[in-house]
């Protein structure tokens, strides 16, 4: 939907301008091949597009400082470039203007819980260098039901919004699992939630991060449980403009630093000792003692150490922002723990 409309806009815009000014439409193509990294470095600040307000991912606190999972990625990138987490301009973007902001160069990177899809990757001219949060559709039930797994939901009534892929996913999953269910279909989200709270259905289904936000807004969040099963794919990650590989590399490997640090057990608390004592070759390369990996990316060799010191590793970020919402690691656990977070080797 969105990508279609945006690319239509772009085509319309180019066409309108070409007719109006008889200028070649080529010049209007947002083919941003210029080196974003050099531009950011000479500007001295990173422009980071964030959500206007989504619990856990990006939201301003009472003092107007941005907090959240996505915000930590902005800070990590600023540290990688400048060794200063405060050199970020947070640009609040809405679902409608986020891609334009990236295409027009208003922002350098968009870590805004955006699902990576083929059309966004191609026709929208974006790149998704990393997937930092594997979201997906899940179920929430009342703790008093005593249900521990979605497989136990045979014969349950399930609250769901109509006409979305959510409803389709739900039907598919129950059919594939050979279970029966009765849908309770309500259009408006607030009414849907109050129907679930009032007990009109046993389970409520939407994306897991949405379930977690709903759960934390309940008077007593402990009364509700988000089941571990996730039945659809919503891979979220930071996106950059297509065609600037150096910049995409930096974004990708900054994410990998966070994941690799967790895998190696290096956190913001012990990173100084690790620099001093850790003899594992992988850790030494990650921490920039050998290999000169930072230089290859165009940043200092100590970038990974700085990033870990400033924002922590992936697990720390997750625990700080998403665990309080009741989001479990699930598919975002390390690959060694059966999850999907897997960093290619640092060498």
């Amino acid at each position: 939907m969105k990508p279609m409309r945006l690319s239509t806009f772009r085509a319309l815009g180019a066409a309108a301008l070409a007719t109006a000014l008889a200028a070649p439409a080529m010049a209007q193509q947002p083919a941003q091949n210029a080196a974003t990294m050099d531009a950011v470095k000479s500007r001295g600040t990173l422009s980071c597009g964030v959500n206007t307000g989504l619990a856990g991912f990006a939201q301003p606190d009472s003092q107007g400082r941005w907090q959240g999972f996505d915000v930590e990625y902005c800070r990590a990138l600023a540290v990688a470039l400048f060794n200063d987490a405060s050199k970020v301009r947070y640009v609040p973007t809405t679902a409608q203007n986020r891609f334009t902001a990236l295409q027009s160069g208003e922002i350098d990177v968009l870590p805004r819980n955006t699902t990576a899809t083929l059309s966004r990757d191609t026709s929208l001219g974006l790149d998704f260098p990393a997937i930092n949060f594997y979201d997906g559709q899940g179920f929430m039930v009342k703790a008093s039901l005593g249900v521990k797994s979605a497989k136990e939901l045979d014969g349950a009534t399930v609250c769901v919004q109509p006409g979305t892929t959510t409803e389709q996913n739900l039907t598919d999953w129950f059919r594939a699992s050979n279970l029966k269910f009765t849908p309770v279909i309500i259009e408006r989200l607030e009414e849907l939630v109050s129907a679930y709270v009032a007990g009109r259905c046993d389970a409520y289904t939407t994306d897991v991060s949405g379930l977690a936000a709903t759960r934390s807004a309940q008077p007593n969040p402990g009364e509700h449980v988000i089941l571990p099963e996730v039945i659809s794919k919503e891979p979220l990650g930071p996106s950059v403009r297509h065609g600037d590989q150096r910049w995409a590399d930096l974004v990708r490997w900054t994410h990998n630093v966070l994941v690799a640090a967790e895998e190696l057990g290096i956190s913001s608390k012990n990173v100084d000792q690790a620099v001093a004592n850790d003899q594992r070759p992988e850790a030494q390369r990650l921490l920039g003692k050998t290999g000169g990996l930072g230089q290859m990316l165009g940043v200092s060799d100590a970038w990974a150490v700085n990033v870990i010191k400033a924002v922590g590793n992936y697990g720390e970020i997750f625990e700080k922002h998403l665990t309080p919402l009741g989001i479990q690691r699930g598919p975002n656990a390390q690959w060694t723990q059966g999850g999907l977070q897997y960093s290619p080797p640092f060498r």
């Binding site: 307000g53 947070y90 409608q96 027009s104």
Partner: protein, 384 residues
């Protein structure tokens, strides 16, 4: 209409003198008589009065219970976050004003650096001072334009900083009430002169100017403000060469000015049309040039005719500025909405919306009252 009724009910001096000093019966004049005539004139009227009175008292008491007696004004805030259990325990029987206590600075100033909040605070006061000064007739002289320029320059310096020892604050960190005031003030201040030109142009005898003005008004009025904002925010940047960015706030501001001007132009045109033809002809007969005629004869009369619809449009635009939320600018309403995203404070929307609504009300009500006063004063010669 008002004049006629006022005349009909006014006491006749001659009759009053005849009646002398005898007091009328208690039930024929005064509040009791009024109540009897208007509230208890028949059994059906009495029943409606009692039923409405009961509901009014119940709702008022319920509101006072909710807003004051059962309300919680603050909760402890620990490093782990605000402890809102006490508020949640109320279960809706009382207001949780703690959310306003905790978030009021965010609602008023958005993501502006916390230590520098005094700067937007002064700007808000400057705006209010500017409104008050502009409202007083004794300041209506050319120097007022200088006062506006100077104040807006000071506001600009305070908000941006980067000089006089103030730290630089980029635009995307501005937010809250000050954004609403900036959008509304600049919007109305620039749209109003533009609208007068467009209105005059639309009545012009020169075909090119007339066509241009008609096209402008019809095009802009033909689309909703929200689509103009989308154009400014989504489409316009794609026309610009790479690396060239026009500030998002400025883009939104221009869209609002263009939109407001189209509507105001039609209001002004109504005033121009309402003026009797004799006024135009008399001015022509005196040998005045077009601009003399317009400036001294036509506009002063036309504008005072249309004060009510003008203020109506102003008030509408003051509130329409909240639409900038769709392009990610934190105006007063968006800041309020964002304040309750934090999990600890989710579900306390009513308190936030009541507060934000109250702020909007203060500004809009002041505008409305002022326009009533202005209307009475400027149209005094019409009241015979």
């Amino acid at each position: 209409m008002a004049e006629i009724t006022a005349e009909a009910t006014a006491p006749r001096p001659a009759q009053d003198a005849e009646l002398g000093h005898r007091r009328p019966p208690l039930l024929a004049v005064g509040p009791l008589a009024w109540a009897k005539a208007n509230l208890f004139s028949s059994w059906i009227s009495t029943a409606v009065t009692l039923a409405l009175g009961y509901l009014l008292v119940r709702w008022t008491m319920g509101f006072i219970d909710w807003a004051f007696i059962n309300a919680i004004w603050s909760v402890p805030v620990t490093p782990q976050g605000a402890q809102t259990q006490a508020c949640r325990a109320l279960g809706g029987t009382g207001a949780c004003w703690a959310v306003v206590t905790e978030k009021h600075r965010f609602i008023l100033f958005g993501t502006y650096p916390y230590e520098e909040h005094w700067r937007p605070a002064i700007c808000v006061l400057l705006f209010i001072g500017l409104y008050i000064v502009s409202a007083m007739r004794r300041f209506w002289r050319p120097a007022l334009a200088l006062i506006w320029l100077a104040t807006l320059a000071v506001i600009g310096v305070l908000m941006w900083g980067g000089m006089l020892g103030l730290s630089y604050v980029p635009q995307e960190r501005w937010g809250g009430l000050v954004i609403t005031l900036i959008l509304a003030t600049f919007g109305i201040a620039l749209a109003f002169p533009l609208s007068i030109l467009v209105a005059l142009g639309r009545r012009s005898s020169m075909p090119a100017i007339k066509t241009l003005c008609v096209l402008y008004v019809e095009l802009i009025r033909g689309v909703p403000l929200i689509s103009l904002l989308f154009m400014a925010s989504v489409m316009f940047p794609l026309f610009l060469p790479e690396g060239m960015n026009i500030d998002k706030l400025l883009r939104a501001q221009i869209a609002i000015i263009l939109f407001a001007a189209a509507y105001l132009a039609e209001v002004v045109r109504a005033g121009l049309q309402a003026l009797p033809r004799g006024q135009y002809e008399a001015a022509d007969a005196l040998g005045l040039t077009y601009w003399q005629k317009t400036g001294f004869i036509i506009l002063p009369q036309a504008l005072r005719l249309v004060i009510p619809p003008l203020v109506n449009t102003f008030i509408g635009f003051f509130k329409d500025t909240s639409l900038v939320l769709i392009i990610g600018i934190f105006d007063l309403l968006t800041a309020g909405k964002t304040a309750i995203v934090e999990p600890a404070w989710q579900g306390f929307g009513i308190e936030i919306y009541v507060t934000v609504g109250l702020i909007y009300f203060v500004f809009c009500f002041a505008m409305s009252r002022y326009s009533q006063g202005l209307e009475a004063e400027l149209n005094r010669h019409r009241v015979r």
